[in-house]
């Protein structure tokens, strides 16, 4: 049994642990359909049901299934030790369009993932979460010199709780660009620690978390700059309707020697109803004296002037609100470089908007 953190711990104060406990107590049941979740492309496809690899539904290609012993002190991440998925690419290899679908049917499931890219290797991975129950993941990422990883993750579980932990080490001139979309009915925690360990490395972790009803989603991300000339982006958008809550905690640490670091942190929340909550916790800790760290944190409602402008041209209130909210969320989703992936994520956000508004 995993020892869970509590809301008394500062790093977990906003986490919907009650939803996690409730999800964990559910009984495994129906299996949701996944056919519509695949994004066009001929890359490797993997399906995990309740954390177990489904060979008959998968074409894993370069991704292997094997025991993984994660090195982490993270309270939830450490619970994932066991058989997981691994993508290891040698220098200069490229495998793009990898898609992983995680189907949960209830209760709890845990799964580790490992991505190791050799020098100048390139990969892109899309992960999709559907179903019910508590889904817990740890993904460990190691990028060698010049390697590039694009990662897009969408949380579409209808109910329950999804906890993701990302731990990345980014080598010299390597790049990690990751975007997360929370557009399902489950509560969630997207938790990450990215270390820019080599000079000129780039780390990006951002996304959009959309909540309604009583749902609570959060991100808790730290980027540590430990080398020269690094850059990082944390662009998060929160949209909260009804009595739901989104919490965005993002932190940038710049170590003493990490001169010329270029960090950007943008946390913005949109309240669709006055009963909703958005918590923002931007943090910067800078020990170098020649760095640029832009940061902004704002929470507001839809611009009434803009809303009237759209309505005066013939758009009913719901579609007008959706159009403005879509534009707000696009700041985060438009960071996805691959057209088909970006369009699929935008469609998921759109589906959420049409139901919520």
């Amino acid at each position: 049994m995993t020892q869970l953190p509590t809301n008394r711990m500062e790093a977990w104060r906003w986490t919907d642990l009650a939803a996690l406990e409730a999800a964990r107590a559910t009984v495994r049941g129906g299996v949701p359909a996944i056919e519509g979740l695949w994004i066009e492309g001929d890359g490797p496809r993997l399906v995990f049901r309740d954390g177990e690899f489904q060979l008959d539904l998968s074409t894993p290609g370069e991704v292997s299934i094997e025991p993984i012993a994660p090195v982490t002190a993270h309270p939830l991440g450490s619970a994932t030790a066991g058989t997981g998925w691994r993508l290891t690419l040698d220098a200069e290899r490229a495998v793009t369009g990898i898609q992983i679908v995680h189907v949960a049917t209830g209760n709890e499931n845990h799964l580790p993932g490992l991505i190791e890219l050799g020098r100048d290797a390139v990969a892109s991975v899309v992960e999709t979460f559907v179903g019910n129950g508590w889904t817990n993941r740890l993904t460990t990422i190691r990028l060698a010199e010049g390697a590039r990883l694009m990662r897009s993750v969408r949380l579409l579980q209808a109910s329950g709780f999804v906890s993701l932990r990302e731990e990345a080490e980014i080598g010299q001139a390597a790049s990690l660009a990751s975007v997360f979309l929370g557009a399902g009915g489950a509560s969630s925690r997207v938790d990450g620690e990215l270390v820019v360990a080599g000079d000129g490395g780039f780390a990006e972790m951002g996304g959009a978390l959309l909540t309604r009803g009583e749902q609570r989603q959060e991100c808790a991300v730290t980027v540590r700059h430990a080398a020269l000339d690094g850059a990082s982006r944390q662009i998060w958008r929160a949209v909260a309707a009804d009595r739901s809550a989104v919490s965005l905690a993002a932190r940038v640490d710049v170590a003493r020697g990490a001169q010329k670091t270029d960090g950007e942190q943008s946390l913005r929340g949109l309240l669709l109803h006055r009963t909703a909550t958005v918590n923002l916790k931007p943090e910067l800790e800078i020990f170098a004296d020649d760095v640029k760290c832009a940061h902004g944190a704002t929470v507001g409602e839809l611009d009434r002037q803009a809303l009237f402008y759209l309505q005066s041209r013939g758009l009913p209130e719901g579609p007008a609100k959706a159009m403005l909210t879509r534009a707000f969320v696009a700041d985060a989703i438009d960071r996805i470089g691959e057209d088909a992936v970006r369009e699929a994520f935008a469609a998921d956000a759109e589906a959420w908007l049409s139901e919520a508004l």
Binding site: Q311, S312, R313, G314, A330
Partner: protein
């Protein structure tokens, strides 16, 4: 076409319109002139259906339908177009996407088939070209980074695409240089000068009226129309100022 009777409206409890009456028939252009604070923009917003303005008395009928009962988007579908004095910037929403959804919402409300992407693009390009707007600007976010003149021109492009029956244009001439004024004036004439259409031009100055010849000129002061006349009234106002007329 438009019948306003004894209209009273307020914002934040402060009365602005105090018994305004106006009748506009199809085929007519009416200019409403008046000093700052007379209630000109409020009239535009009240006709457009902005929620912050509360109508406390009177009636407004558009083609015999009660305009005040309609939401803003229903007024648009009924054929009303409100040209904004300060068009709003909307980051992240492209002109094309916005106008296509707006036009098709109107068409659906009127029981017409929505336009396809290709049909709409053809219409939008033609309207932009007629107003001398680069078609590339249609792809840009609504009014973001546009100059004052470009925003007003964009209002006219929108009017051309939406093709309303009644246009209420609030200081469409402000912020325009002489060339842009002529283009916008020509646009209003081209789009709206028709036997089944009408225009209410809200303006501070006479100069737009050199391009769009009004059939009637009204002076709005302290929330009411205090004088009405033909085009010569605009020249009289320009010559003698609002003070002399209002006194």
């Amino acid at each position: 076409m438009l019948q306003i009777d004894n209209l009273h409206a307020e914002i934040d409890g402060k009365p602005i319109l105090k018994g305004l009456s106006l009748a506009v028939n199809a085929g007519e252009v009416h200019a409403i002139m008046g000093p700052n604070g007379a209630g000109k923009s409020t009239l535009g917003y009240v006709l457009g259906g902005r929620a912050a303005y509360e109508v406390t008395g009177g009636t407004v009928a558009l083609d015999c339908a009660d305009l005040l009962e309609m939401d803003a988007h229903e007024r648009a579908a009924a054929g009303l177009f409100l040209g904004f004095q300060y068009p709003v910037e909307i980051p992240g929403v492209s002109n094309l996407q916005f106008l296509r959804e707006a036009l098709n919402s109107q068409r659906r409300a009127r029981g017409q088939e929505p336009l396809s992407g290709a049909e709409f693009l053809k219409l939008a390009r033609a309207q932009a070209a007629a107003l001398g707007m680069d078609a590339e600007m249609l792809k840009r976010p609504v009014n973001v980074g546009f100059s004052g003149g470009e925003k007003k021109r964009n209002e006219m492009v929108q009017m051309g695409i939406l093709n309303p029956r009644l246009a209420v244009l609030d200081e469409t001439d402000s912020g325009l240089d002489i060339d842009a004024l002529r283009i916008v004036g020509d646009g209003i004439n081209r789009i709206m000068r028709a036997p089944d259409k009408a225009v209410v031009l809200i303006t501070h100055y006479q100069r737009l009226l050199d391009y769009v010849r009004p059939d009637f000129v009204h002076v709005l002061a302290d929330g009411r129309i205090i004088r009405s006349g033909g085009p010569e009234l605009a020249h009289e106002l320009e010559r003698e100022g609002y003070g002399a007329i209002a006194a």
